[in-house]
Symmetry: C2
Subunit: 181 residues, 2 copies
């Protein structure tokens, strides 16, 4: 089974705290297996994400990586492909089928989302530079739509094993059940 990892590049503790948290939670909720944070070391985010996993289930992993260059290089060396989400890349509808083909054939996929400015070498190391529409918007949104297109909506009905809580969808109001293990 293909492994999907999200690499958050260039996290700045001062500015990106909430955006990076959203990146990690979107990665988990929409079917990725792992999120790796690079940039400033910010253990609070990792704690927050692990707390969500403890309550809401699944096997999602989250950790910090100091050397992103080596991390990407090793991913490629092990045969994984690298997708960099950037507004300058090829628009998603024009490239998704090729990436889905990689995924279906069991290749691991690393999805890179940058904070402010991404070094040129990331564009060069990526197998695919992919735009989610060629307009400025949000790496959180870009990641969400990329995963949704990759999995073709199936991720929205994903079950999370070992969850303590589960939501029962309601037309109005909130219903959360506590699961016994």
């Amino acid at each position: 089974m293909s492994r999907i990892c999200v690499l958050r590049l260039g996290h700045r503790a001062s500015r990106d705290k909430r955006i990076t948290t959203h990146v990690c939670l979107v990665a988990r909720a929409l079917g990725a297996d792992e999120c790796v944070i690079s940039g400033d070391f910010d253990p609070k985010i990792i704690e927050t994400v692990r707390g969500v996993v403890a309550r809401w289930g699944g096997r999602f992993a989250c950790h910090y990586e100091e050397n992103w260059r080596r991390f990407i290089a090793e991913w490629k060396k092990r045969g994984g492909v690298v997708v960099h989400l950037t507004m300058y890349g090829i628009n998603l509808p024009d490239i998704i089928e090729r990436i889905r083909k990689d995924w279906r054939s069991g290749v691991d996929i690393l999805i890179i989302v940058g904070a402010e400015k991404v070094p040129r070498e990331v564009y060069d190391m990526a197998d695919y530079n992919v735009a989610i529409g060629n307009q400025p918007h949000s790496e959180v949104a870009a990641l969400a739509i990329f995963l949704d297109w990759l999995f073709q909506g199936a991720e929205l009905s994903k079950e999370f094993e070992n969850a303590k809580y589960r939501i029962i969808p309601q037309q109005r109001g909130k219903k959360v059940i506590r699961l016994l293990r």
Copy 2:
């Protein structure tokens, strides 16, 4: 033609600056017509969004609204429908076709995304409480996927009139052209 407006509820200037900015930029990039911010008055975000519109085109409007209750009530009085995005709602795949039907029939759609805690009356005022998967993640991601499903991907190829800049999609690197008017 149906009008799509995003209402960002409960903005806190201290915490939500970047998330609310992303909400507005996603609304614009993915085909909404307008974003209305409620909560703390934070003119810097509105300036940022208007700056993006000036450079990247389109007719997207962004403004502050003090009285969100009245805003929602008036939207409904004028025949518009209200969609509230919440992890507790009906999962998107189970409800999107009904909302698309409203949209195709020309009904205006207000999409509400809250910051931390959304008052119960919002759940009651909404015609649809919609979850983008029933897991905790991000209002930015929820809005992005909702718009993408509503427009079925067509929004990713939207042209923005009166843009000063346009990206020419590249396999590697960045190419932006300056448009003459």
